[in-house]
Amino acid sequence: MVSIPFLTKLDAETASPPADKPPLVLLVGSPNVGKSALFNKLTGKYVTVSNYPGTTVELSNGHCHCGGKRLEIIDTPGMYSLVPITDEERVASDILFSGNVRAVVHVVDAKNLERMLGLTLQLIETGLPVILAVNMIDEARNLGIRIDTDHLSRELGIPVAATSSLSGEGVPDIIKHLATPPPPSMNLTRYGTIIEQAMMDISALLSPASPIAPRARAGLILQGDLREKERLVREKNDRDAADILNIVSTARDRLNHSPHYYVTLALRSHAARIASNCVASPAHKPGRIRAFLERLCTQPATGYPLVAVVLYFALYKFVGQFGAGTLVDLLEDGLFQGHLMPWMEKQAGLIPWPAFRDLLAGEYGIFTLGLRYAIAIILPIVGAFFLIFAILEDSGYLPRLALLVDRGFKRIGLNGRAVIPLVLGFGCDTMATLVTRTLETRRERIICTLLLALAIPCSAQLGVILGLLGQHPKALAAWAVVVLLLLLLAGSLAARILPGERPLFYMELPPLRLPSAGNVIIKTYTRMVWYFQEILPMFLLASFLIWLGNITGLFHLLLRGIAPVVRLLGLPDSSAVAFLFGFFRRDYGAAGLYDLAREGALTTHQLTVAAITLTLFLPCIAQFLVMQKERGTRVTLWISAGVLLTAFGTGFLSHFLLNLLGI
C-alpha cells in the first residue's frame, strides 16, 4: 500500500469530471459488511489510501479491468442512509453524487439483509446503476439463512450477487455485472400521497442534468438534507430555490411527523416485504413469555413501574446496600483499617524523611488516601454496579428503556437515543460526554452534556450516596426528588432556550434474552480491568497532587477559599475537602464524603445537603477537558458556571427547606 493524496483533484461538487478519468465504481454500504475485503479482491494489491479533501476521512482507491475497460474503484466510508449524519456519510454521499459513476456496488451483510435493503432502495432511487453484493453469504449459510438471490434480483430490478469477500465467492459475478452496467431499476418505493406529490413538484423544478435522478434529490431536500439544500441554493436562482423550499414547508405542515419519518418507515416496510419473499431464516418466533416481557418493558403503564423496581433492587439494594455497605465494610474496616493500614504506618515509620513518610502513609498519603479510596471504598461499589450493568446490558433491557423514555425525553429536548450517553454517565461522566457526539443534532449534544455535568452522578458517587443515605429513607427521598427535579427542569429550560428541531428516534430492538453467565462475567471482568488500568492510577495521581498541595500550602489555601461557601450550606469546614476532591474526580469526592460520614463529622441533615450539592457540583477536571474539546470553550464555561451556581443555590435552598421540613 502506498499513501499519496489521490483525490485532491476530485471535486465532489463537480458533475462533469475530466474526460480522460476512468469511470468510477463505488463500493458503498454500512460499516462492517466486508466492503474493504471485497475492494481488495476487486483491485488486487495496488491500492492508494488518502484523506478526502478537507476532512480526516480516509478513502481507498484502486483499479480493475473489466471488459477491456479500466475502472477506478473507490471504497467509500460506511453509510447507513443517503441522508448523512456523520462526516463519513457526508463524504460517501458527496462521492456518490460527484458524476462519472459507472456503477454503484452496494455491499450488504447477508445476515442482516432486511435492515440493509433500505439503502439499496434509496440507491435505486438515485437512478444510478446499482449492483447488490450480498456479502458474508458463507456466514449466513452457516447460520441457516437461505437467500434466493434470483428472486431478490427480480424484486429489486437490479443484478444481485451472493459473495464472500474472504473466499472470493461471487467476485467474478460482480466483475461480470460491472462490464455491462445494468439499466436503472424502476422498482421505486412509494411514500404516500403528500410526500409523492411534493417530490413530483420539487422534481419539476430541479435540473434534469443532475448526476442523480431529480426524484431522489427531491426526497433528500424534503427530508432536510442540508447538503442537498446547499447544492440547490447554489445551482438555482433565488426564486426557484424559494419555491422549492415553500413546497417542503407546505408538505411538512400537512404531515403529523417529519417527512424523514415517513420516508424511513416506507423504506423499512418495502425492505421487509422484499426480504420476506427472498430470505428464509431459522424460525425465531418470540415465545409467549418473551412477548409478554417485551410489552412489560416498553408500555408506559408497566414500563415505568418496572424501571422503579430495577432501580430499587439493582441500585438501592445491590449497589447501595450490598456494595457500599457490606462489601465496603469488609474491605475498609476488615482489611484496610484492621490489617493493612497499621502495617503500612509501621513500615512508613521507618522512613527518616517526614515528607516522604506523609507521601506514603500521611493524612493524604498515596496508601492511606489514594489506594484506600480506590480499593476499599470505590472498587466494591463500582464492581457491584458493573455486575448489575452487565446483566441489564446482556438481557437487552437498555434499548427497551430507550424506547420507553423516548416520549418523556422529548420534553427535555432529547430522544430515546440519549439513553446511551446518560446510562453510560452512571459509569463515568467523562466517557459519556464523549459519547454525546453520537447524538444527531448540536442542540441534543449540548443538552445532554449539560445534564451529564449537572445531574448524572457516576456509579461510585451514586453508590456512596445510596449507601450513606440508605439508612435515612426521608433523606434519600429528598436527595432523589431534588436531583430528578433539577434534571427535568434543566433539560426543559435548555430545550426552550436552544433553538432547533427535535429529531426522531427509531432503533431496531435486539431480542430480549436471559443474561448469559459467561457474558456477564466477561463484561464485568473487562470493566474491572479497565478500572484498575485507568482509574486506579488517577486516584494515585490525585493523592500525589493533594500531598504536593499539602506540603506547599496550596491545598489549605483552596480549602480556606471554599470554607465560607460550605458554611452557607450549613456544613462544617471539614466538608470542603470533599468538594475539592470532587473536582479532581467525582468518585474521589464521593470517597471523601464517605470518610466524613464515617468519622461522624456530618449530621443526617448535613449529609443530605452535602450529597445534593456534590451530585450537582462541577464536573471533574477530566470531564471539564472533554467538554471543552467536544462542545467548545464558550459552551463549557456557560455550562460550568450554570452548574456551579445551580449546585450551591440548590444546596442552600435544600438546607433551608430541609430545616423547615425537619429532615
Binding site: 462492517n32 466510508p77 462526516d87 456466514e139 459467561g518 463484561k523 471482568y525 473487562t526
Partner: protein, 74 residues
Amino acid sequence: MECPYCHRMFKESSADPACKGCLSRRGCQRVRCPDCGYEMPREPRSAARIRELYRRIFHRHKTPPLLQKETRHD
C-alpha cells in the same frame, strides 16, 4: 465482539472510525460500536483465560456467542 447495547456483532478494528478526533485516542482502552455508538472497555488479553476457564467448567461442548473468537471480515 458483540455490542452490549444493540447486540450486533462487529470487529474491534471497524470501531475505529467512530473514534477519530477523540481526545483520548492514543492508548484508548475503549471500543465504540459502529452501529449504535455505545462505548465499552476493550476486552483485555487475560479475558481469554477467563473465557477458557468458563468454557471448561460450564460449556464443555459449546461456546457462548460473546465468547466466540472473531472471524469477521474487514
